[in-house]
Symmetry: D2
Subunit: 330 residues, 4 copies
């Protein structure tokens, strides 16, 4: 009821404040007998880890996943999988000044208004660290989606734009920008922002290939609606669209109907077997000015958000896949 | 699980195919002892009813609400409120050709792929008639939100754009376009589309004033995430954004932080007491060409979608209001 | 949240006060393409209908089922099935005296304490009429359980006891007492109670044959736990047990382990393929004295409760069947 | 969906196999700003800990609670509280023989049938260790119930019976038998069972004083129904009753109505302010014979089950308390 769980057949329950003991997640509904790999899981976490990129925060947190339950001899048991990541790098001193310093666009003030109490050492539940749970949940959801390809990439950051749909099996470089000839320039741009105490938003596009037909329910749990909730629930996300998106307002029906791509792989809220295409927007990170120059914050969240975005998409697909499978072979 | 319910503390369960006996809804969680009015409810339904506007479908369905339960002597009982609207105008002959005619962008094909069976007489659950349930649910949710102002309007349709935020107590005319000097032109434009067998998408903006502070939960059930799901779950909706929306990608943090309006009334996923501003996009309706010229379809859904949009927003707010109230005065 | 829904994959949402317009139910999660029959449904309702038995209430309510949605040409559509039964026999005059007359053991007083408002014309949501929804939900759940046999019977009422397990395909007579040589005596006994302004409790046993192995979840949603909730949620039910039940307290482990029947078909909360055996107790109906002599009340609820009990059992089994099926053939 | 969560407004999600890394629980919905004490929590866990009593298992597991989230400076934050207890005493060698040894009445066989895979080192999710999560959940739920008294005690074990309702503030001794003059005899009895490779069931009664009026919902989520589910979901529980329980079958309505105590504090499914009285039955533990003589198993589970029972009752009450509070002071 307090909204720390997501999903129906396959659900995750997330816990942990940014400066508490640990961030963690319970994934319930993963089928029994599936091969998993701690290394693959860790690899996903490393993609969102701080300290990995010059153009991101300099904090180094190992973010080591510990699996507490739900697995045995390399396989899932069908029981709830609990995974924790200890918080090892909480420098409270850095944050003590924030006790009465409410960052605009951040949850500090609203959290206090809501609860009357707040762990002022950091963002608490609203910290970006909460997304660790989403990446872990996404990894285990992905075990169910072996034949589905899910890729997210940066389509816009600062002056850099990528408007095509890339080869989904390609390497998008360390900043997840499909034109990897720009990777160095992007890094330079982000490092420059950090030096200036600035931050920047951006856009991410997501493509799904080989999504089974028939996922999504016709009324409230349309596939598009659950994707919207999943993605907009990510901290800094300010928009969601699929297919033609906002451009839909600018066309006549005859134009739109002439090309199924315009519907982004979802008709009547249900996957139609075509490639699914979605787009989301992130705001610039809240920490700017001198605080930002200290280096412990990201000037732009989206390079690290990519595995989070992919994780949420996997959760939605795996959940709907099981929901639909319940009605097969009766 | 099949996604016909929405909301947690206050929930609606929707039922009914477009060409079955009735469309209906069960609203559970409305507090006891609230004054309601059948006329006010009917007025909301009339706002979305077909046949009311020249620029919309010519079908005339009375859409008469019958309350079956949950009320007594002018007040709510706190028990589930069931309301049905009988389907009186199903002209199956009109639709029989559609048995194997799958309209692009419509649910016909995906529904058949999903269920293996379909009421081919119409859109079934994916028909626009399903939104009757949302309007009714919105009316009863609104009983809880006496001090909150919720208004939606068309900000873009064809060549007509309205980019300001209007006086929320104003009259927006029969096409919900705040610049009512354009109402006649808009009607002419829509009638023209119909004649041409064309359809058109558009954009709707939503403003909420006096939203209590502290609504929304910090993780998955952020207010923005539940709004995204609620609104994108409406049939033809292709995008959701709030605050600066997609424009967030084009600015630095210093610019964004300088004006709280950019956050659209929601920080950290929780309402901050400012005006909440959201925007959604609708695609052109699927029926075009000769079929559209017959007149039983809307060339543009958004004039009739306005009460549906407001209804979904009310549902989300009332649900979160009760969820937050559970922790008050303990 | 207000507890008018039951079930997860297959759920029912019940609505209606005893003296409102109608009692109804939305059944969500029934698979598409299943043959149903309005006559079979009506037959189930007739089993619980008042006025059918001399030993029950003399009120005659036709309890005619109207299906509003979810079916087409004799088959289910996979969409929510809404069914209503109009309340035709509300004699408010009979009940007006009850405005401030709180029957012990009845919900009158607690309902008013809880809601601050009450439809004093009858039991409202707490009336036995609410069980109409359970019978209808049970009928549609049963479509999924073609190979499973589910029978409930009276094992104790007044001086009559039946302690064996009868042939489940047998005819148990109009009072659902497997020794049908006693049917007339039971009727005489119940008619006698009515004349005396008395009422009586009793016990019901339930047997399930051919229940698939593996239904139930190992932690909170054990099959036994969901059966307990389903059955104890019936108005007058005061106990639930399975297998040896309360007798388990009187034996050593060696005795209990020597015969699998003692576990009642459920081990570790999961069906083991054996016959499932359960027992529940009903209290005497609340209306006694002169009021009872008027004849509009049942001296003993259990003859009419049998189809309600079977309905709830079917709901639990069908729900768990779909939940388990979601993990098959992945 | 896989049933590892319980509760609506206040919910617990349990995880952990008996022989995995840890047992744990996430408690979501505890209000912010409540004082808690790690010592009090540990005290509750110690009440169910093995190795404490001569008449129970000789395994010694410290069962040390580690709180990972949701608290700060001695107070709850209103965010999910995650607590783990590491499994320190897994002697796999002891259990390896059990790989193909299915104990009757235990979940070994049904678990394998259900999942096709099993952690054969122990009971997995069906082990008694899973109840650690329930005790922890109960502790935090209890923070909401300061004025409510909840006590469970053994009313029957072997030849010992206690049929009165004791002073709820009294000390019931180390075996939770209110007549503490029998404590030593009970211990002797249980030690004797262990020597004989025997086990024993028993009965537990539960009393609740000062329960607020109005808890429970009139249809499926009746207070009695949620109590039934909560208690019957405990591993070895075979029966649930309240008020007069099974005896209800043996009386006329005039007798039953003459004393409100017979209704056990719940009318129409809703608490009426009277003392709530419930009774449950536990089966003898499954491990008997030579295996039992080794000493690592309990001859009777109920002395250690008492804090589990109280925990589940607290969860149900706290959940319903918040659900009802959502409608107060609107």
């Amino acid at each position: 009821m307090r909204g720390n769980s997501f999903g129906k057949m396959l659900s995750i329950t997330s816990f942990g404040e940014s400066h508490g003991e640990a961030i963690g997640v319970v994934i319930d509904g993963v089928p029994p007998g599936m091969d998993y790999s701690l290394e693959d899981l860790q690899h996903e976490l490393d993609r969102r880890a701080p300290g990995r990129l010059k153009g991101a925060t300099a904090r180094k947190e190992p973010d080591r996943a510990e699996i507490l339950s739900g697995v045995f001899e390399g396989k899932t048991l069908g029981t709830p999988i609990a995974v924790i990541v200890k918080n090892t790098n909480q420098r409270s001193a850095d944050y003590d000044k924030l006790k009465e310093n409410y960052r605009p666009g951040h949850a500090d003030k609203t959290t206090e208004a809501k609860y009357g109490i707040r762990d002022h050492r950091g963002g608490g539940r609203s910290s970006g660290r909460e997304t660790v749970a989403r990446v872990i949940g996404g990894y285990f959801s992905g075990l169910l989606l072996k034949d589905v390809t899910i890729r997210a990439w940066i389509s816009k950051v600062g002056p850099f734009e990528y408007n095509d749909v890339p080869d989904l099996s390609g390497d998008f470089g360390s900043y997840s920008f499909p034109d990897t000839s720009k990777t160095d320039e992007i890094e330079k741009y982000l490092v420059g922002l950090k030096k200036d105490g600035e931050s920047r938003g951006g856009q991410v596009r997501i493509a799904i290939d080989n999504c089974p037909i028939g996922l999504g329910e016709p009324s409230f749990d349309k596939l598009k609606a659950d994707m919207a909730k999943a993605l907009v629930s990510i901290g800094a996300c300010f928009s969601f669209s699929f297919g033609l998106g906002e451009e839909m307002a600018d066309h006549n029906g005859s134009f739109v109907s002439s090309n199924t791509d315009n519907f982004g792989g979802i008709e009547g809220g249900i996957s139609n077997g075509n490639r699914i295409m979605m787009k989301i927007t992130f705001k610039p990170t809240s920490t700017i000015g001198d605080k930002a120059k200290e280096g412990r914050h990201d000037p732009c969240i989206i390079p690290r958000a990519i595995p989070v975005v992919e994780g949420m998409v996997k959760l939605v697909l795996a959940d709907h896949y099981l929901r639909q499978n319940a009605y097969k072979n009766l």
